[in-house]
Symmetry: C2
Subunit: 335 residues, 2 copies
Amino acid sequence: MKSKITLKELAKLLNVSVSTVSKALHDSPEISPKTAERVKELAKLHNYRPNPVAVNLKRSKTGTIGVVIPNISNSFFARVLSGIEAQAQEQNQQVITYISNESLEREKQICDMLTSGLVDGVLIAIAEETHKKKEYDHLFSLVDYDIPLVIYDRINVEIPADKVGVDDEQSFYDATNYFLERGIKNIGIASAIHHVGIGKLRIKGYEKALSSENEQQMACSTDPALLRSKIHNLIANNKVEALLCTDFESTILATRIAYEEKIKVPEQLKLIGYISKEIAEYLTPSISYIEQHPVEIGSTAMQLLNNRLEGKYAPEQFKESIIATSLMHLESTKF
Amino acid sequence: MKSKITLKELAKLLNVSVSTVSKALHDSPEISPKTAERVKELAKLHNYRPNPVAVNLKRSKTGTIGVVIPNISNSFFARVLSGIEAQAQEQNQQVITYISNESLEREKQICDMLTSGLVDGVLIAIAEETHKKKEYDHLFSLVDYDIPLVIYDRINVEIPADKVGVDDEQSFYDATNYFLERGIKNIGIASAIHHVGIGKLRIKGYEKALSSENEQQMACSTDPALLRSKIHNLIANNKVEALLCTDFESTILATRIAYEEKIKVPEQLKLIGYISKEIAEYLTPSISYIEQHPVEIGSTAMQLLNNRLEGKYAPEQFKESIIATSLMHLESTKF
DNA sequence: CTGAAAGCGCTTACAG
DNA sequence: CTGAAAGCGCTTACAG
């Protein structure tokens, strides 16, 4: 039961003032080497550690940053968090985690807490519901309160904040080209998110890569049953030799339909999905995927925030950092 | 740019003392209704929020708890975290997340930080490396510093702390019986963790359920190549009709070998794995699994910690809470 | 009913 | 070189 020792207690034991102890521990040149020595020795003996709450109060900061995550079961976000955490450790920041569960309501509550001075800055991936309803007032209120804000992953929104995202269009442009270069002409798209920003961008990349002689083949729907029948139509009738899936749902649906219909992947159908490494690797066959480098997204976001906190950027002028994706080849794109 | 207003500023604007403002906002009976009214009105107007750092310093607490997670990409832990977070919100606690990456070294660093007074209590799942090396000093030092500690998930360790775990033995006892009751006699085990606590318990459950007439068939190894060949031997040669896998690695290996050898699951081989819902559902075929209810583990752990913090439990007397598992049937156990 | 004072544990400009 | 004082923003026992 070593109970924590304070500066005051240390001072009493040493018969010096609190200020002297504090300065000695901070290697202030004001203090004589002899005193400094004595102080440090006793501090070490008692394993003195400054009370972080007191230090923070004095410094008028919290030493913590808030991270808002829409859905932690999504391993993309889990890995973003790990990138944030690693970077935060290096900068000696504590990470407070909030999970919005993709709910606007919850996100509002969280932002409300956050404006009360719990954290020095905020990293957020905006909930889907929020994007759908385009209700961003709670985020603007963070800005109003001068809480530095970095938006990651879903950055297609007009909020004055630093942003870290992914080049969605380029990723699908590259993926489409990968097939074209190998002589595959019938390339299809499956999407459950064709109506939202990132979905549109991915599809745009696909369209750009196709030349006029290649027919566009799309299976898009937000309705699972409808999407299933559209994908089924595309792949069971041999309309496409390769399928690009813009999201988790369509990827899983495609692999499942192939499995059920005994369509051999990659022999009869090549597949690229937008899913996390964790899932992609363990499917049978494993599914080639577009790696978004979530850990890097997280650490970049954290670095941006820290530079912002340290005043390294001009105020009212925001950074946008785009992390390049990589096409990761597993079994489903074997030639 | 609403900058935060303080009690002092509020007091000045109202021409009353800081103490009066503070009391009014806390509905102290000492304050006249009229004054209380005035104070609250102005506070609301300026959207006054007490500075949490100052409040915490005054209360000698931090208002935060630390959560140590071995590996956030493992969706089991991600979901535990979400259970913790949800419960913490209800109790108005902030959750600071630390990721040990299964590293003893990192875990030590984290515990060292944690003893400096950053948090009121700690929830930890101990890293694998730590368990392997049986080095628990850093955890004992948390106890020494009187920081309430709850150990979750990997609780087979002699540390004086509250614990929340899973009934590993029972889960496999039930799973084995599930097959026995349906007339399956040749039931095998695959394990990459047969040498560690939870692995042993699971295997023990299996052994208990088997009667003397049932032969034990085990494929156990920590070496992936060896484990693969052992599992292969078990399932490719029809030695078992059902296979129980004690962990993620053996489950994935078993599904993959079945896929490669074109062994039909569940027709020729039934499988039960110890993997997370997120993965189990998306495999083809989907794999029946033992659900450990991670969200509940998290919220239970958080509740235990909070009761401990509130002094609801006798000191030196520790709670151990076991969350029952459920056998979730997906395609791989269809009869 | 109101306010001055002490104190949570620290840091730092200032006086001596 | 050392220490008293002020202050970070709050709460609360106490005096009036």
